[in-house]
């Protein structure tokens, strides 16, 4: 009897507390973090879906992720190696280009997919509840998986060109995580803009092309004119490419100051992107 009544009061007290109360709310940024945790299964499913659908209809399958940067690298090497070789003594040009492309592709793929994911998901967001950030988080997750796959051809090219493998390469996962932070933060920021103005998606493709040529990816840093160098230092991707390349090209850890700047930029961008996106996220269901 006693036990029965105890069980009963517990279920009653559980039921008197609502699962959802629109008037009770912690900060949207924190609430969103919790929801992403609750919906981790969806996150895994979305990443799985994006990777599966990308390869399902192509004969080459996963190999395509590796061949794509490899092809770009080959073209760039043929076109530019004679022009730039003199300014880069001792560094195999294909390794230099490919390492830059790996970082750049991560960023451009991740941010573009964040936007298109939200536009696709907008249809869903008006019908059922899912955490609004989940499309950007899964887009960056997918780009991360693709980046790890793209490291395979990089290693192969390093072997072929007889590049030195140093212990500093163990730093690469940290560099990749910082790129992921920056990509997610920036992806969220432009997604909140794209949610209101679809033309942002097209404009962004132009921005991306210009941005890539303003980052030393296919050309050596040494050709940047002295008086423009301070402008280059304002480019976040300059620092991220730099710390990723140091272990591969220079066989050493990045300078502590470079690492500090890259880490600060990435974390600040992530926090800003998350705060801006979640502060606007109640409006998406009204607008998209």
């Amino acid at each position: 009897m006693v036990r029965f009544s105890v069980v009963n009061t517990r279920t009653v007290s559980e039921k008197t507390k609502p699962l959802y109360d629109s008037s009770k709310r912690v900060s949207p940024a924190i609430a969103e973090l919790k929801e992403i945790g609750n919906y981790r299964h969806l996150l895994a499913q979305l990443i799985r879906r994006d990777i599966l659908t990308r390869y399902k209809r192509s004969f080459l399958g996963v190999a395509w992720t590796m061949l794509n940067p490899l092809g770009t690298m080959l073209v760039m090497t043929i076109v530019f190696s004679n022009i730039f070789r003199a300014s880069m003594p001792g560094v195999p040009f294909p390794v230099y280009i490919l390492s830059g492309l790996v970082v750049w592709n991560f960023f451009s793929q991740g941010t573009t997919a964040s936007m298109s994911g939200l536009v696709w998901g907008g249809n869903l967001l008006q019908r059922i509840f899912v955490p609004r950030t989940i499309f950007a988080v899964s887009a960056v997750g997918t780009a991360l998986v693709n980046t790890v796959i793209a490291l395979v051809p990089l290693i192969i090219v390093m072997l072929i060109t007889q590049a030195t493998f140093s212990w500093a390469l163990l730093f690469l996962p940290i560099a990749i995580i910082l790129v992921a932070f920056f990509t997610l933060g920036f992806g969220l920021l432009i997604s909140s803009l794209a949610a209101f103005f679809p033309d942002v998606m097209e404009m962004y493709q132009i921005v991306l092309t210009a941005w890539m040529y303003l980052t030393p990816i296919i050309y050596p840093e040494s050709i940047i004119p002295k008086h423009l160098f301070n402008v280059y230092r304002l480019n976040p991707m300059y620092w991220l490419v730099k710390i990723f390349r140091a272990p591969i090209v220079d066989q050493s850890l990045p300078a502590l100051s470079d690492f500090g700047i890259a880490a600060a930029i990435s974390i600040i961008m992530l926090v800003i992107g998350w705060l801006v996106f979640t502060s606007k996220s109640d409006e998406y269901a009204y607008r998209i």
């Binding site: 039921k15 959802y20 629109s22 659908t53």
Partner: protein
């Protein structure tokens, strides 16, 4: 009916306001120009105004009203999709939305893969979907096609799979938005039987439909909404009769 009534959905003084730009501005460029010229005008529109609603656990509650009455907005507020502009919404229990079947299906993936993706969109883990997978295939009558890409499915197959996934688990609160008009008659019967089964097991069901006979037949209570305001609430057959008189 439960002997002791407990709340499932409580709305207090809930209003939802949409702010529509008086002219559609679709591009950032245009927006920037308008902003500089200070020519941004918004038209306000209350989709729901001062609505009070108290639905008890185990009830089957119907909502009727003309197009634009605020029925869909009401369902969105209850299923957390929209946050009310003013007022308070409290929900006691996990919500299973049955809004537009298969909204999250991906055409390139197989039926099997879509079951897990759609389940995850509704908040279920891979294991939870595995437990009910065979039952979903059986209910949707898609055993032969479950490994084919969903782009090869007919719209009826699509809807059958969507309904089977969304109702695979006994929900605490089920939201049904105009979906029972899909599929052939035999399948519609299967759907209504399943919802009736949920009701017997104590689930709360909230239904929107233009099919007034369905509302009168399945619901115990109903509300009539017009332009975001509650016109009448009470016994389902009574409300449907009043709505028929007033609107047609």
């Amino acid at each position: 009916m439960p002997t002791e009534s407990k709340p499932a959905i409580i709305l207090e003084n809930v209003s939802v306001r949409y702010r529509l730009p008086s002219e559609r501005i679709g591009t950032l460029k245009e927006y920037a120009i308008r902003l500089l010229q200070r020519r941004l005008k918004h038209r306000e529109f209350w989709a729901i105004k001062d609505l009070d609603l108290n639905i008890q656990q185990g009830e089957v509650f119907g909502i009727v009203g003309d197009n634009g009455a605020g029925k869909s907005t009401l369902l969105k507020v209850i299923s957390k999709v929209l946050r009310p502009t003013t007022g308070r919404v409290r929900i006691y229990g996990k919500i299973a939305p049955l809004l537009e079947l298969g909204a999250g299906f991906h055409p390139e993936l197989s039926g099997r893969e879509n079951v897990f993706l759609n389940g995850a969109l509704l908040g279920y883990s891979h294991d939870e979907m595995n437990q009910v997978f065979d039952e979903i295939v059986e209910f949707s009558e898609l055993a032969e096609f479950i490994d084919a890409p969903i782009r090869t499915y007919s719209s009826g197959m699509y809807a059958r799979l969507g309904f089977a996934v969304a109702t695979a688990h006994q929900p605490e609160i089920l939201i049904v938005d105009e979906i029972l008009s899909v599929g052939d008659e035999a399948f519609q019967r299967k759907c209504t039987d399943r919802i009736a089964g949920f009701r017997e097991n104590g689930a709360t069901v909230l239904m929107v439909s233009h099919n007034l006979d369905l509302i009168a037949g399945m619901c115990n209570r109903a509300a009539w909404l017009d332009h975001g305001k509650l016109i009448h609430m009470g016994n389902a057959e009574e409300v449907v009769a009043k709505y028929r008189e007033g609107a047609h």
